[in-house]
Symmetry: C2
Subunit: 377 residues, 2 copies
């Protein structure tokens, strides 16, 4: 489907005239976020493999790779297929692919792009991947996925050496190293707790790395980390690359992690949902066009960024609408008024939209597809 807003590209004031709800990127801020992370990684002497689960966009993946990233991460096979269709050649799929049909798709993707890596946390699945890759005639690069105590995916460090041994010995597989994502520490709001928990996870991972090296299986790649620990993980000198995702957008949830004084990061919010007032028949209350279908709701309410009177609060008003509660003694909100909100949680919010509306000041500069939207299978 053609974008409703294509006619507004390049027109002064076009940004305010988007048909809404619309997902908006402030390009100036977005570009600064990209640049700052590259500078940080360079200074810290660590690689970047940004997580495309955040943006699901070929255009953004291209920019991240052009800025020096080793490639991108995808959460799911479908997301990786979508980015590969758009020409992205270096992809790590960070969730295990386990089913027969999934493994067949993985082999097709491996044949199609230059640099695909998969993860594995299970001996039976490793055997199936090996057999499939041997049958397909192109070895599959594999990182063994380590559980940092989150118990989501990954094998416990104690059980990892046997699986590493199996992967390294498999003729169809190329053992490339480890993945370890400590998701449970990313949003700890106390900097000291976040630091301690992250460094503890890195310490255990470092011990595993050393043990593997002694056994002749030194991991070339150790991939992990996130936006919440981007400045903590590198000092442990265990990870070789950071899987940072949200730094490009900075949602309300990640802003909360750093909102305390002295706790500054170089990243600013570049992603917004733009919404329009559609009804306003009660004092101090306006109804917008963006509800549960326009924001992921797992992380609380959106935060009003612009367009509403000082002291306004946004709330969900069902599937299709939002509400703005605002001071009764100030200016009135009226139908057609335009508001922007910081999203509570960027990744699943992006997954609701087919396209980004990229603005610079009041100009709509470009529309980028969310290529991997809905590709969770």
């Amino acid at each position: 489907m053609k974008s409703l807003n294509e006619n507004l590209i390049g027109i002064a004031g076009g940004a305010a005239r988007l048909q809404t709800p619309a997902l908006v990127i402030d390009l100036d801020v977005f570009e600064r976020n990209l640049t700052h992370m590259v500078a940080h990684a360079k200074k810290a002497g660590i690689g970047l493999r940004p997580h495309a689960k955040t943006h699901k966009s070929v255009e953004i993946a291209r920019r991240q790779i052009a800025a020096g990233a080793n490639g991108v991460c995808c959460a799911k096979l479908g997301e990786a297929e979508a980015l590969a269709e758009g020409g992205i050649e270096a992809i790590l799929i960070t969730s295990p692919v386990v089913t027969e049909a999934g493994i067949a798709r993985l082999m097709a993707l491996n044949a199609h792009i230059a640099d695909l890596m998969a993860v594995c946390d299970n001996a039976k699945v490793a055997a199936r991947l090996d057999a499939a890759a041997q049958a397909a005639g192109k070895p599959l690069k594999v990182l063994v996925d380590i559980d940092p105590g989150m118990s989501r995916t990954g094998i416990r460090a104690a059980d990892a050496p046997a699986l590493v041994e199996q992967v390294a010995a498999a003729r169809g597989l190329v053992y490339c190293g480890l993945q370890c994502y400590a998701g449970q520490v990313q949003h700890l709001e106390s900097p000291n707790e976040r630091r301690a928990a992250s460094l503890q996870a890195m310490k255990e991972l470092g011990d595993l790395r050393d043990a593997l090296a002694r056994a002749g299986h030194a991991p070339k790649i150790i991939s992990g980390g996130g936006t919440g620990t981007f400045d903590i993980d590198p000092e442990a000198r265990v990870l070789t690359e950071l899987q940072v995702g949200s730094y490009i957008f900075m949602d309300r949830q990640y802003n909360d992690v750093w909102e305390k004084p002295g706790d500054r990061v170089p990243f600013e919010t570049s992603l917004f949902v733009q919404t329009t007032v559609i009804s306003a028949n009660r004092p101090g209350l306006a109804t917008t066009d963006a509800g549960f279908k326009s924001f992921a709701t797992d992380a609380g309410q959106p935060l009003l960024h612009s367009g509403a009177p000082e002291g306004s609060v946004y709330f969900f008003f069902g599937d299709e609408q939002g509400g703005v509660s605002y001071p009764k003694d100030g200016p009135l909100l009226q139908p057609t008024d335009v508001l922007r909100c910081v999203v509570p949680h960027c990744d699943p919010t992006v997954n609701l939209y087919d396209r980004y509306h990229c603005v610079r000041g009041d100009v709509l500069e470009a529309i980028w597809p969310v290529d991997g939207r809905g590709r969770s299978a």
Copy 2:
């Protein structure tokens, strides 16, 4: 994008082999739900205009109209455009369309289909709709939207007669009646409270109807109601048609409304998310491929329906994964195991998927597109 699962259509056992997460309709149950609502409305002497915001599907809208509905409701202009592209000709858009570009699209849609109705709750917007319809050369049918005390959209009953007068007098508009959706009462879990609140809202609406009739503006259509009050609203004899939506699917939230003994409804759950175990390295814990991107999260956790041991509980494990906590003394869950979940809230969950996988028993019978997915603008 082609469905990953098309090759499974018609194959015995195909339903269990879907690439997941997948949105699944149990067709036998779905068809019974459709039939039961038609029988109910016939017996109650009330019309049906089912809400397509639930399903966003041309195929389902067609079936609802073929079974005798007056047409369907759409929440948004974009959703209506999507169904109109698929040949649906009778659509009520239940949210106000207010912007200049939105009104232009509304006029284009009005020119394109036989029986479009819009709602209005604001005098200035009514004037704009009138001018646009006059310029377009085809009058626009309008229901005046009444606020039943929810304060979301709609004009207060006391202020409605003046707006009705304006709409009825407008040369570009055809005054067709009223809309009044008492969303706030649909999920009240006490049947007595739900009944009392709903009948109170209907009483006030009936008084308005009578006052309008005395002023020469008897509403031909009074559209409202939902699945939560499908069996309460008709007895008030105010609504002429029910905007029921969720009855076709029955999510966990609506099941909760009726789960008490003696509180039976003829609707059963027909909609599921099918998910696959991708990791299981801890006793009593398995990780699936369906998280925040595969379920709307505004109404709590999914409910395990099949595939997991007795006593298992599903929980969200981040954007990409779900978790199943299950008794440690029973059968083990393993990668590739397939589970089905009842979704917490159907409408925004459907909005995450590009297609329905329609199963009958263990056979995948058809794949239907979610035509209006993401069309919230």
